[in-house]
């Protein structure tokens, strides 16, 4: 790497670390670090302490799941990825490095090297969360295995985004120039999709006999899927090695695969500068607005602005204006292309599965399960994706604080907007899932009761997870990424997993007392109606639990409102 860039990288990292350490002078940050450190320390050194992911790297099924996750991550990057490069440059980097006599490749190499800091942090978190499982591999071997996986995924994501950028910016010529990677990826995704669809009836039958994992393993070892998944398996094999000899044999091909990505990425011809500069200017504008510093003007992007999905009445509770603003902001960040691809994908896959199973009831049952999975995932992953709340608006703290509203009201309105968005998405999935499940005569639970409970439980859970996410931004603005962009990419997965993990712990704590009360109320209903733990008894019990959660949240929001009123502008310094 260029000497100046190396200097910039090292000194920026050093100063950033110094800044992070300086934050520990604030008791709030220090306490969080001590609590987190104590927990993760126990997780790492106390083998009896349960870890959410330990053991997941100890079985053939685990290996299959890791391989599948990596495959899906890479495939979704190609299908749904943005036409902007995954390389993120700051405004200062754009202004100083882009006009400097540096090659495009050296800029990419600089960014790849810079990303290693995040990769290393993610490796550390993953090593702790995964722990030993059933293998005897020492800490450093697992760390190297994870480093190779995460670095390869990062390089692949950057490479894929550069191919997309090149294709998008050069039109047909760009597609022709990148025809080899595009053709390979298209073929791999198409063949994998066809293999999976073809295997669906067999897997369904195996699942009813309790042999689902064996059926999945057979699918992964069947041709041509096995051949297609080979590079992905290559990458995860070292993590599953049971001896150092096995690890040494597996690590070399995995390393070679990672190394092969490097020249592909650094020898890019994608003219990413303009797209990168626009994104950097946007981030800088938001950040400088928060700090009250000057900014340069964005290039003109005037165009048709989508109409709001609903109008804001001029009178009524003022907090509704904040909810409206946030919902509007989300609808305007939605990528219709992604929705269109998803819709086409659902139709194509549905048709293909129907061709295989030939039974509407079976298809409906599969569809209901496919709706239930994202519905549940949204509860914990949704807050990471929909961020049009305090995590975005804290950069405009001056503006928020000048409004004639109490701190609690502003925080509650910010949370409510995102709760509304996530709940709306879940309700759509719930409606489709319930409709499909109603055609399944073998549904495991009464569809009506489950739907009624979900109608109450989903917004309640969303309210908890989003209060946690917004509370984290308010209490630790130096640690939470503020503004439009979320910490994305597989290399930042450790940070995101950490956020989900903390949210999971706090949500569990918040939900335990209301859950106990809900079960007690359901038990009382059971005894009144003469049933035994009927799911229908939870229908009247669920609102009672939801009310208790609302009571908890009312107290928490009051506290966060007071924090909001005291938050110092100097703290709103987004992490770089």
């Amino acid at each position: 790497m260029n000497g100046a860039l190396r200097y910039l990288l090292l000194h920026s990292a050093k100063n950033r670390l110094r800044g992070q350490l300086a934050r520990l002078r604030r008791p709030r940050y220090l306490l969080a670090v001590l609590a987190g450190g104590a927990y993760f320390g126990m997780l790492l050194f106390n083998s009896r302490m349960p870890s959410p992911l330990s053991g997941s790297t100890s079985s053939a099924l685990g290996q299959l799941i890791y391989t599948a996750v990596i495959f899906v991550t890479i495939a979704s990057g190609w299908i749904f990825g943005s036409d902007r490069p995954a390389l993120v440059f700051s405004e200062a980097e754009v202004q100083i490095l882009f006009p400097a006599p540096l090659s495009r490749a050296s800029l990419v190499r600089y960014k790849v090297a810079q990303a290693q800091i995040v990769v290393m942090f993610s490796v550390l978190i993953w090593v702790i969360l995964l722990r030993r499982g059933a293998t005897t591999l020492p800490f450093w071997m697992r760390a190297i295995s994870l480093w190779i996986i995460l670095s390869t995924l990062y390089l692949h994501r950057v490479g894929a985004s550069l191919v997309r950028t090149s294709a998008a910016s050069h039109g047909a010529r760009g597609v022709r120039r990148n025809i080899v990677p595009i053709a390979i990826v298209t073929m791999v995704i198409a063949v994998a999709g066809w293999s999976i669809v073809r295997a669906v009836p067999g897997i369904r039958v195996a699942m009813t006999m309790g042999e689902g994992s064996e059926a999945l393993a057979r699918l992964a070892t069947s041709q041509p899927l096995s051949a297609l998944l080979y590079p992905f398996r290559l990458l995860v094999t070292p993590l599953f090695a049971e001896s150092w000899r096995q690890w040494a044999g597996a690590i070399i091909p995995a390393f070679a695969l990672m190394a092969a990505h490097y020249p592909w990425v650094t020898r890019t011809d994608a003219a990413f500068e303009e797209a990168v500069a626009d994104a950097a200017a946007k981030r800088a504008r938001l950040a400088s607005a928060a700090r009250g510093t000057r900014r340069r003007q964005l290039p003109d992007t005037e165009g048709a602005v989508p109409r709001p999905w609903f109008a804001l009445a001029p009178t009524g509770h003022p907090a509704v204006a904040i909810v409206w603003k946030n919902v509007l902001a989300y609808t305007r960040t939605l990528r219709l292309t992604t929705l269109a691809i998803l819709a086409v994908g659902v139709v194509v896959i549905g048709t293909a599965v129907y061709a295989q199973v030939g039974d509407w009831h079976e298809l409906a049952a599969i569809g209901a399960v496919l709706c239930a999975i994202p519905l549940a995932m949204i509860v914990f992953l949704g807050p990471g994706f929909v961020r049009t709340d305090l995590r975005q608006d804290l950069l405009q703290l001056d503006q928020l604080r000048s409004y004639p509203l109490r701190g609690r009201t502003i925080v509650a309105a910010e949370v409510a907007g995102t709760v509304l968005i996530l709940t709306a998405i879940q309700y759509v999935l719930l409606a489709i899932g319930a409709l499909l499940a109603s055609f399944d005569p073998n549904a495991p639970v009464p569809v009506g009761a489950a739907t009624l409970i979900a109608l109450v439980a989903l917004p309640t859970l969303n309210a908890i997870t989003l209060t946690v996410a917004n509370g984290a931004a308010l209490l630790f603005p130096g640690w939470v990424r503020l503004g439009d962009g979320r910490t994305s990419g597989i290399e930042a997965m450790g940070q995101n997993v950490l956020a989900i993990f903390v949210s999971l712990i706090l949500t569990t704590i918040a939900i335990v007392p209301p859950f106990i009360v809900t079960v007690l109320v359901a038990g009382a209903v059971d005894s009144l109606t003469g049933r035994t733990m009927s799911i229908w008894s939870f229908v009247p019990a669920a609102p009672v639990g939801a009310l208790l959660v609302l009571g908890e949240l009312w107290l928490v929001l009051g506290w966060l409102g007071r924090v909001f009123a005291r938050t110092d502008l100097a703290q709103i310094d987004p992490p770089g």
């Binding site: 938001l286 607005a289 992007t301 001056d398 604080r401 000048s402 004639p404 109490r406 502008l569 100097a570």
Partner: protein, 250 residues
């Protein structure tokens, strides 16, 4: 309309504002002047309820910003030097949003005349990313004026405006003051201050160096009689340096 009594703001070891007291009556325009780091923006942000003073009290129309913040804030508008706009709301939607927030029932009827006044009518359907620096500033000012505040806090209001925009902005400020709005205006542009302000508050390192009309300030310092405001300002800074107890050498 605006009563500030003993306002002090301390950040760790650093005192940004020291015991500041002043009053702004309806129709009055108070010019807040001072060098960089004098505490002007901290003062404005404290009055706007954005930052909490370390001590002292601030009242807007009789309502204390600390004990009745909602009522006090409903009466004022703060327009910062760097306009903070929501990236996903159009110009018109910003005004609708503010109208609802401040309970302006007739906001739909007020929006168009305000957009005309700010020369933003043809940009009403546009997102802030497409606006120039000056247009963003105008939109921020329009948002501040929509609810007809009784107190107006302006931090460097002419930043980014072209000459025509500056003239229009000065006319807007003057007309609001004539309508009975109490205005506090912070600016480095001494000509603007001289032209618009009825009184001056000169600050240096968080403390008041001078407070009163230009004539009153000069009358206390006969050597400055007949000198332009720039000379008066620099002389006051020198005086402040000499009399600052924090800088006094033992």
């Amino acid at each position: 309309m605006i009563d500030v009594e003993g306002l002090t703001k301390v950040y760790g070891d650093f005192t940004a504002v020291r015991g500041l007291s002043f009053h702004v009556a309806p129709g009055e325009v108070l010019g807040l002047v001072g060098p960089n780091g004098a505490g002007k923006t901290t003062t404005l942000r404290s009055i706007a309820g954005i930052i909490v003073p370390s001590s002292g009290s601030i009242r807007i129309g009789g309502d204390d910003i600390a004990t009745a913040p909602e009522r006090a804030k409903a009466r004022l508008a703060f327009i910062p030097d760097e306009p903070q706009l929501f990236e996903h709301l159009t110009v018109e939607e910003h005004l609708r949003f503010i109208g609802r927030l401040y309970g302006v029932a007739n906001a739909p009827a007020l929006i168009e005349p305000l957009l005309v006044e700010m020369e933003l009518l043809d940009k009403r359907k546009v997102l802030p990313a497409s606006l120039s620096r000056g247009m963003r500033q105008k939109l921020a000012i329009a948002c501040g004026l929509l609810h007809s505040p009784s107190a107006l806090l302006l931090d460097e209001p002419l930043t980014g405006l072209d000459p025509a925009g500056m003239r229009r902005m000065k006319s807007t400020i003057a007309s609001r003051a004539r309508a009975g709005v109490a205005v506090v205006l912070s600016s480095h542009l001494l000509q603007l201050v001289e032209e618009l302000c009825t009184r001056l508050l000169v600050m240096q390192r968080g403390r008041v160096i001078a407070l009163g009309t230009l004539e009153e300030i000069v009358a206390e310092r006969t050597e400055l009689a007949g000198r332009p405001l720039e000379d008066v300002f620099l002389a006051l800074m020198d005086e402040g340096e000499r009399t600052d107890p924090e800088r006094a050498t033992p």
